[in-house]
């Protein structure tokens, strides 16, 4: 109390200045600068921390979204090079893997390779076709860099286009080569012509099995083969008989060549098979096996022809727009299916083009009006009594501006490039989407998709090849692929399917996330069905009925359970619970029933006991009487299970009449669903154990936090403990209980290790309680190590993560709204 510090009040009026001087603050009122500084610092630390948390969560969200976004973008295309082709009207244009050295083939014997950058002059390569022989039909297989040609003498040959790197002066140059393999006689055209000219004396087509060596094409040396077979007669007939369309498919030990012959004004369809003798050293040389004339089975003249690489079928389109699918069955060609892709078209039903999609299972048909439809081989369930593998309409694309004038199929995926006139369209078969479409400023005569799906090229009418860079890293992705029902090749119909990796190059990833979402929901539901009743009743019992002394032990024990590592639970589930439970399902069912009945029975008996004896038991300890009963019932249930199985779950083999008391068998034959050892029940059970402590702890807290006054009021009004709990405590605690459920739900949705270990991780979509599943979170855990960075697969896993994130976000937001609503309803207490 130092009064000298404080200026006396009489001082102030004496000072004339209007500005009042601030009185010095007594030391005891001063705040230490350190205190202020710490206060300031902590304020900021807390601010930064709080904002940091928000920023971190948003940052994670943004990062995941960033990783996912490219999946939903289309293709982008940039002009790269323009190459002027000196060859007029090339029959085939092709491009190397890097888009550096495109080639043109004139349809006879000349190849020209052009430097895409225009630095080097075109390289001209001539193939060693015998003098006087002319190529009448060609087909280019871009994935193999090979061409099949047919000559006017009825020979067939294969041209390999090769790109060899050479080093000159330390610089790498790529040199294009084209080599013709051995020419094989395919059809004796002069004889055909003679037969045509003089049908009366016509000899039948050469007998099947003529020993004419055919090449599989690869191992033949570059040396030009001498022109075999007699081909000198009937020169006059050559003008009228020629092969106009050819296609070839080669398997490991057989090959099939299909050809359309023009004989005078008529067109005929021929099929020639080749066979290789198999020896211990593998397949040997191909030899001509059989010749077939299939013209008689067609209703109109054949116009187009496809042979799949499996070399067991011919697909022929005729002038009327009818497509015939011939399947080789032993020595016969069976007309397995005949269909009209554009039967419903009002105008022309003719087919402008038909081409295989990569994999040779789907065919794109282009109609005269620009329609674009995809038919795929499958075993449809409908209209297919013999369950044969036939073509069915699987996809329909928006029509082009006119009949397709060019077509190119990707050699990496199910994309194809087509168009009409100036229009170019890059489409993806599986997802039925247009990746890119544009009207270019020139008429397109041919289109090419680079081998690596990184380049596109278009040849215009003035023979300029426009090379584009294609940027489309995720063509198979898209909303359709993730959330739509897609008809994948080979399946009987559209379905949700997830299979991200496969064994072969032709494998197409199936990326539907629906089975994973389903798995997450199924796992969560199983866990919650198991956990919620137990956790909530336990919470109500503990907070309202249990002896407070005991509660002090029970509560922390449950809290410790919540921190049990889920990997331990998963391990237990997979290696301990699953095998034991596998053949004891009837026991579990019995125990479930007994456990449910036990408290009812006990309660009934308890109420029959006179009150004098009941008083003997302290309130909150009644459970100790029931516990032995419960244990005994469990033991009884477990041991009675096998007998129960023999009564209720017997499968009788319809063939032998043998009876099997086996729940798994019974389930399989009664419900049609499978029975796996690691199934949803085990997951529900074990994940329930992870969820129960969380729900229990939070629900118990909220129940215990209900103001004691309300409980007292209720009890004082003569309500029983249960009436008080049910009518008064539960409604008020409902907001907290709801939170508990939501947090439990969030835990179950995100739970990974238990699901990974305790299920088979098969992305199934069924309601079967005894089958496994794959959840979004388990999918990420299982597949992330094998997903290359920035690949579609990698991004799809991130999409799964984003979905989980959003799921939790939406559930929690909804929960918060509901919780606030409940809290609002019961506020003021």
């Amino acid at each position: 109390m130092s009064e000298s510090n404080v200026p006396s009040a009489s001082d102030s009026p004496s000072s004339p200045a209007p500005k009042r001087e601030r009185k010095p603050t007594p030391a005891r009122f001063l705040v230490s600068p350190v205190t202020l500084w710490i206060d300031f610092l902590m304020t900021w630390v807390i601010k930064v921390g709080g904002i940091g948390v928000i920023v971190a969560v948003i940052g994670i969200m943004v990062f995941i979204t960033w990783q996912v976004l490219p999946l939903f973008s289309g293709a982008s295309i940039q002009p790269h090079d323009e190459v002027k082709m000196t060859m007029p009207n090339p029959a085939v244009v092709g491009m190397d893997e890097w888009g550096e050295l495109p080639f043109a083939y004139d349809g006879d014997r000349t190849f020209e390779f052009y430097d895409a950058h225009g630095k080097n002059p075109p390289q001209k390569v001539t193939i060693a076709l015998p003098e006087g022989e002319k190529v009448t039909a060609t087909r280019y297989f871009p994935e193999k860099y090979s061409l099949v040609i047919a000559t006017d003498k009825g020979n067939v040959g294969q041209i390999k286009v090769r790109y060899d790197a050479e080093y000159k002066d330390g610089r790498r140059t790529v040199v294009g080569r084209a080599e013709l393999g051995t020419l094989e006689p395919l059809i004796d055209l002069p004889a055909e012509a003679a037969a045509e000219a003089n049908p009366a004396t016509a000899s039948p087509a050469p007998a099947p099995g003529t020993p004419a060596p055919a090449t599989p094409g690869s191992e033949t040396p570059a040396a030009p083969a001498p022109a075999p077979t007699p081909a000198t007669a009937a020169v006059a007939a050559q003008t009228s008989t020629k092969i106009t369309v050819i296609d070839r498919g080669a398997g490991e030990s057989n090959a099939l060549v299909g050809a359309i012959l023009k004989v005078g004004e008529k067109r005929e369809l021929r099929a020639i098979t080749f066979k290789a003798k198999r020896s211990i050293r593998g397949a040997g040389k191909m030899t001509l096996d059989q010749r077939y004339d299939l013209t008689g089975q067609l209703k109109a003249a054949p116009a187009q022809l496809l042979v799949p690489s499996t070399a067991d079928a011919l697909i022929v389109a005729d002038d009327s727009g009818q497509v015939s699918y011939f399947f080789q069955d032993g020595d016969k060609f069976e007309l397995r299916q005949s269909f009209q892709p554009f039967a419903d078209s009002t105008g022309s039903k003719a087919i402008a083009r038909m081409d295989f999609i990569f994999g040779d299972v789907s065919i794109v048909f282009s109609g005269e009006n620009g329609q674009s439809r995809v038919f795929s081989l499958c075993i449809p369930a409908e209209n297919n009594p013999e369950q044969k593998r036939i073509f069915a309409l699987t996809k329909e694309f928006p029509p082009l501006a006119g009949p397709a004038t060019f077509f190119a199929s990707s050699q990496r995926n199910k994309a194809f490039l087509t168009g009409s006139g100036k229009q170019a369209s890059l489409r993806y078969t599986t997802t039925e989407t247009i990746r890119w479409e544009k009207n270019l400023d020139f008429d397109i005569r041919q289109g090419i998709i680079g081998a690596k799906y990184e380049n596109l090229a278009f040849l215009d009418a003035s023979n300029v090849l426009h090379v584009y860079e294609l940027h489309d890293p995720h063509p198979e992705a898209g909303f359709n692929a993730f959330f739509g029902k897609l008809w994948y090749e080979g399946l009987a119909g559209p379905e949700y399917s997830y299979q991200s990796t496969g064994g072969t190059d032709e494998f197409e990833p199936k990326l539907s996330l629906i089975p994973l979402i389903w798995g997450s929901i199924k796992g969560t539901l199983c866990a919650l069905i198991f956990a919620v009743p137990i956790a909530l009743t336990a919470a109500i019992y503990t907070s309202q009925f249990l002896d407070p002394n005991l509660k002090r032990i029970v509560k922390p024990t449950m809290e410790i359970m919540a921190s049990l590592p889920s990997v331990v639970l998963g391990f237990l589930a997979a290696l301990w619970v699953a095998p034991r439970v596998a053949d004891r399902v009837p026991s579990l069912l019995l125990i479930l029933v007994l456990i449910t009945l036990c408290p009812l029975l006990f309660g009934w008996i308890w109420n029959k006991i006179p009150k004098i004896y009941r008083l003997w038991m302290r309130p909150g300890w009644e459970w100790s009487l029931m516990l032995p009963l419960l244990v005994v019932l469990c033991v009884i249930g477990w041991n009675l299970g096998p007998y129960f199985e023999e009564i209720a779950f017997v499968y009788v083999d319809p063939n032998t009449g043998q009876r099997y008391a086996d729940f798994g068998l019974w389930w399989k034959h009664t419900t049609g669903g499978g029975y796996d050892q690691r199934n949803s029940m085990v997951v529900g059970f074990m994940m329930g154990f992870a969820v129960i402590p969380i729900i229990f702890t939070i629900a118990e807290d909220s129940l215990s936090n209900v103001p004691a006054g309300l409980r007292s009021a209720s009890l004082a009004l003569g309500a029983t403990r249960w009436q008080t709990a049910w009518e008064v405590v539960l409604p008020i605690a409902s907001a907290g209980i709801f939170s508990a459920l939501m947090i439990g739900l969030g835990r179950a949705v995100g739970e990974t290790m238990i699901v990974v270990m305790a299920t088979g991780n098969t992305p199934l979509m069924d309601f079967n309680l005894f089958s496994g599943m794959r959840t979004l979170s388990a999918n990420i855990a299982v597949e992330l190590p094998e997903a290359p960075q920035f690949s579609t697969h990698y991004r799809v896993l991130f999409l799964g993560a984003l979905l989980l994130f959003l799921l939790t976000f939406v559930v929690n937001t909804l929960a918060e709204f509901l919780r606030n609503h409940l809290r609002e309803k019961y506020k003021g207490i």
Partner: protein, 297 residues
Amino acid sequence: MSTNTRSTDEAKPLTSHPRAHNKGTSSTTTSEEGLIQWNELMPQDNPIPYIRVKDFSFFYGPKQAIFDVNMDMGKNRITALIGPSGCGKSTLLRNINRMNDLVENVRHKGDITIDDDSIYDPSIEIISLRKRIGMVFQKSNPFATSIYENVIFALRVAGRNNRKELDEVVERSLRGAALWDEVKDRLHSSAMGLSGGQMQRLCIARAIANRPDVLLMDEPCAALDPIATVKIEELMLELKKEFTIVIVTHNMQQAGRCSDYTAFMYLGKLMEFGTTQQIFTNPKVKKTEEYVAGKMG
């Protein structure tokens, strides 16, 4: 119950103001511990002893909260329990309907009887005991339901769902709690929208809905403003026609205004028990005098 609460010889003094009757009560004797026996207390009034506390001691674990209390509370009278905080008056009150059983580690000695029935009789269901004794708490504690549902809670839990009966009970109880006119238009709106005084009166209405014999009030006006307090006090004077009321209060004026008998407790012991008039004007025990005069507590 209402039929035998109004015997004609009692009606007259009870309708008058508490201060008006029991004049000149002096013939009470004080035992050595300050315990006052009922029979010697009020010859003129002479109500029926309804609640009798006999040698009652109560323990919270090892701590004894009430020491050998003996007192009788008259039927259709208001008995006030006063005393400084922690003196055991609330504990005694809460023992009458055995609410203290909810507290862990408690035990008691002695007995409390209501209408000569021991509340600790094993054959008595604690639920029916509580139905017989209504209770109003210090902090109003209406349930988070409608006014209507609050009032009929006791009937609901008893399984009485006859709509007509419930309607009658609601009106009678709310009228009894002097709340009817204020809430009759919004019976089905939330009880949370009422003011503090209204809430407390709702709690009283709820407590009397099942027509108990006894009404225990644990500082019912502690959280209320003076106007609401006056209303509750007036209400108590009305209610005692029908119920036996025991009230714990810190408010000397309140005890003086509305109670017929007053018990002063101190450190778990009953120091003095007598008519309100006597306790406030002529206390026999020094502690009582100090407390009533505001020198203590």
